[in-house]
Chain length 548, copies 2
């Protein structure tokens, strides 16, 4: 007779073994490794909470210290591979296989380990896609999560960095998995219940704050005049004509420049209330001047941002907050919002090829996808119209009959023709393709595909790919904004001129923008200190951003 | 000076007004309307929980009874418009504007009211898309939700029909909205915490079960031999060659036939363990024989299904269940899973045009979209490969360079060439387009767009649209499986023959299927009673499905 409760029985056996080490649900820090040895089995699928920002660092260290004869060959299914220890577990043989989404600071080492066969790669995902698989074929047996505090029953308070936690717990706890939380402290009563106690099996009191990184802070003092020029082009050439109100901004100085131009240049263009009112966005400090100037109606956030806590708490009309007054972020829902409820995604990249495909991968660094492809893809399941979406769809397919013509998500790539270390933004062949060949991947790690990109903005102008009617037009439109890069210099000048006459390419002067006006004085804040001032002293930047 | 706490202050004022009627959080049934009058304001965005299945019926009746001078012009933002009262609130002037996703039984009346100007239409959405907007520009001021039980603190137990509740509450409670729950009963301690108390402001004890509809039960006795033939074609001609393991099935007799053929025909084809192992799916009773025969590894569900409670409770290895033992469904996460973690969506429709666009709308009925477009669209944000996805992508773009070639979601439409009341499945022009013209809609309510459809299956054969290289090939491929409908009879016979030689069209005989074998004896269960037997008596069908 079939046993239909095998997972539950296995879970109960694990819980029993863990209970011997715990006092109720509480496990002492020095017993954390013993707890993991008690509840884990070789080959388990394990989600070690490594989010975009916050990290279950204590449980990670505990995992690294397990007896490899007891716990080994784990299949890690976690969104962020961020800490060195996230890779050390592979070096030690504790883990074997990896499915992930983002690996910012570990991008170089992860590449080396993949080349060296130290890691068996499942796949690189977007966040939402990995979360999706948690419910279908990558359901964790054990989740090692992180929160600010717990009560003795196991109710968890995540504070503003709720991030992935509810999603991980949902998939694990309701499929007979084990949920272990590290918390900074155990308290009598949590300020709010982010995760109910009956989904949490063990709690380890770390006694110190978990690691969390300020990923979304861009110092205005580092914004260049070229970035200001591209930001002006974006506002006047894309935000304004499409009337983009619901949007997501990627990370980077170019979008930070846009945020800082809203109360100055945007105001001058008369765009207040007409653009950039509703965001799916982390709490970017660079948006403070626009918020304070009354531009922003509402922001839903993937995670929080270090230093923004008090500011958010004082601006509940703008942010989502809980009964305790602090931010409630939620990566999964915010990614859904970015996919389906936003009309534009705008972000930067490292390389763009002649078809418009872009990638942040170099042959030595596999950074992962994060959330960009989910937001920077045309959401073909969308069925509600909006003006920007309808207008973009009409530009792409002017001849198709109106009621059958779908709209298009605006997907904008913004950057300087030469990026960091003078590397050209435009290339004939993406490094991502060389990497795919080298690693024998079925798919090159393309961040945004050319057929999803609608606009490319550089200091030379805007290429509107929606208006291109053939691959060769698209290629010339891209070459036409690629400046003095090799790709740019190989343009067909006559064809580029024709594209400009058709409005496919628009130069600053075509938009009435004088590049000489692109001056740092246009930024609503020119330093981190300016941002603190705008916030009325509520924004408390991390020390690495303080020059005073 | 700007007030940044206006929403919170407004909420606190509403809570205070509500508190006068409540005892703690508890409000008596006869005070429900008074409560709504106390906490609602004209023009509020209100989510009256109307899910695919369960309904906040008591709160709906309470809303209908409000004094219209106090509460009026509401903007309803709810996924399901299912109960007559959901439309009565518009007739009475309590509500004015509507954003929704699904309107099954009210499809005819909603059409009449839209034509008559009784409802101001925001948009018709997919579920996930509407949820997305809850976080961006359609955030509810008040959510009227429904659960099985509550404790006195306000912790809620939803039972197996968790459905939309966590998503609605997340958007409302964390943006300073008011959450009011109707529950069947108030208990000392809830069996599990589906919604933590600090997100719930008022609880009304209904004293009786909320309305919930068995939407996903298909009586095997009504399955026709034509449907069995199309199911055989699907299994041998699509599931097998692509090796589809992760999938979603739409509602309908054709997919029910597939489910009932797995342990018989599927077994004979040697497909066990190779196809249909992981589902994003409601607990379809028709899947019981396949589950009992060991075909299914795991199912995550949007909602539950009436009568399946005990069966699910006894099969936790397959379903997601909570610490109380009953199903934990979650529509938002399951839709995400259907979008990003499934390789195939297969469903039925009412009309398909010559481009492959399909719709369930007729000129007199606006049924809404539900979840199909979200799952039946190519997920362009997806970045992880799988065999079915890669294979479909290769068929669609054989000439593009492999590492830059994306895969494709398999989107399959299955049906009989003549459907209910002998209406042809294939039409020159969708009724959806006539409706869009009549209502002056920017977008025709197309369920699945032709450019997302990969296969169309009828009793005449399979049209593989991935292999079509031009619009005219696509048209002839569709005509070539359209049987004796007008569309089918107007085929170019030579062209259809050429498409068949290329494998674009495959007839039953091309697949080694004899239509005479399509016999009801092939169904693993031929009646509801058979399903009960397969379940070992655990499945308890609702009375309307019992003939004994």
């Amino acid at each position: 007779m079939t046993n239909w409760q095998s997972a539950r029985q296995a879970r109960d056996a694990r819980l029993e073994a863990g209970a011997r080490i715990a006092n109720g649900k509480i496990v002492a820090v020095h017993d954390a490794t013993r707890l993991l040895e008690a509840v884990m089995r070789p080959g388990d699928k394990v989600c070690l909470e490594g989010d975009n920002q916050k990290q279950a660092d204590l449980l990670c260290a505990a995992l690294l210290a397990v007896d490899v004869s007891k716990v080994n060959s784990l299949h890690m299914v976690q969104s962020g591979v961020v800490l060195p220890e996230h890779l050390d577990v592979f070096d030690r043989g504790v883990a074997k296989k990896l499915d992930y989404a983002y690996s910012g600071p570990q991008a170089a080492r992860i590449a080396t380990m993949l080349f060296g066969g130290k890691i068996e790669l499942g796949a690189v995902h977007t966040y939402l896609e990995l979360f999706a698989r948690y419910f279908i074929d990558l359901t964790p047996n054990v989740a090692l999560i992180v929160a600010v505090s717990a009560d003795r029953d196991g109710n968890l308070y995540t504070g503003p960095n709720t991030e992935d936690t509810p999603t991980i717990v949902e998939a694990t706890a309701f499929k007979d998995g084990i949920v272990i939380a590290q918390v900074n402290e155990i308290v009598e009563r949590v300020p709010r219940v982010d995760i109910p106690a009956d989904r949490v099996h063990f709690v380890v009191e770390a006694g110190k704050p978990f690691f969390v990184e300020p990923l979304f802070t861009r110092d205005p003092s580092a914004i260049t005049e070229t970035q200001i020029l591209t930001a002006m082009l974006a506002l006047k050439g894309v935000y304004a004509p499409y009337g983009v109100r619901r949007l997501n901004h990627g990370i980077g100085f170019s979008t930070a420049a846009i945020e800082l131009l809203l109360p100055t240049y945007g105001e001058r263009l008369g765009l207040k209330g007409k653009i950039a009112t509703h965001f799916a966005l982390n709490p970017h400090p660079a948006l403070i001047p626009a918020i304070e100037s009354g531009w922003v109606t509402q922001i839903h956030s993937f995670g929080s941002e270090v230093g923004m806590e008090d500011y958010i708490r004082a601006r509940p009309d703008v942010y989502f907050t809980g009964p305790d007054g602090s931010l409630r972020s939620h990566r999964a829902f915010c990614q859904v919002a970015g996919h389906y409820a936003c009309d534009m995604f705008i972000g930067s990249t490292l390389q763009i090829d002649l078809q418009g495909n872009s990638s942040t991968v170099t042959t030595a660094r596999i950074a992962g996808f994060g959330g960009a492809p989910n937001m920077g893809a045309d959401a073909r399941g969308r069925r509600h119209p909006s003006e920007p979406w309808i207008l973009a769809g009409r530009e792409a397919n002017p001849d198709s009959p109106a009621p059958l013509r779908r709209g298009r998500k605006l997907v904008v790539q913004i950057g300087e023709t030469f990026g960091e270390k003078n590397a050209p933004l435009f290339v004939e062949k993406l490094d991502a393709i060389s990497l795919a060949e080298k690693l024998n991947l079925e798919l090159a790690p393309v961040m945004i595909y050319g057929d999803d990109v609608t606009h490319i903005i550089t200091e030379e102008g805007i290429a509107n790919l929606l208006l291109c009617r053939s691959p060769s037009e698209r290629e010339q439109a891209i070459r036409g904004v690629a400046g003095y890069t090799d790709v740019g210099r190989r343009r067909d000048k006559n064809e580029v001129q024709r594209l400009r006459e058709r409005g496919v390419i628009r130069r600053p002067e075509d938009l009435g923008i004088d590049p000489l006006d692109a001056d740092r004085n246009m930024l609503a804040a020119r330093s981190i200190k300016d941002l603190v001032r705008w916030s009325g002293g509520l924004y408390a930047p991390p020390s690495k951003f303080r020059s005073w």
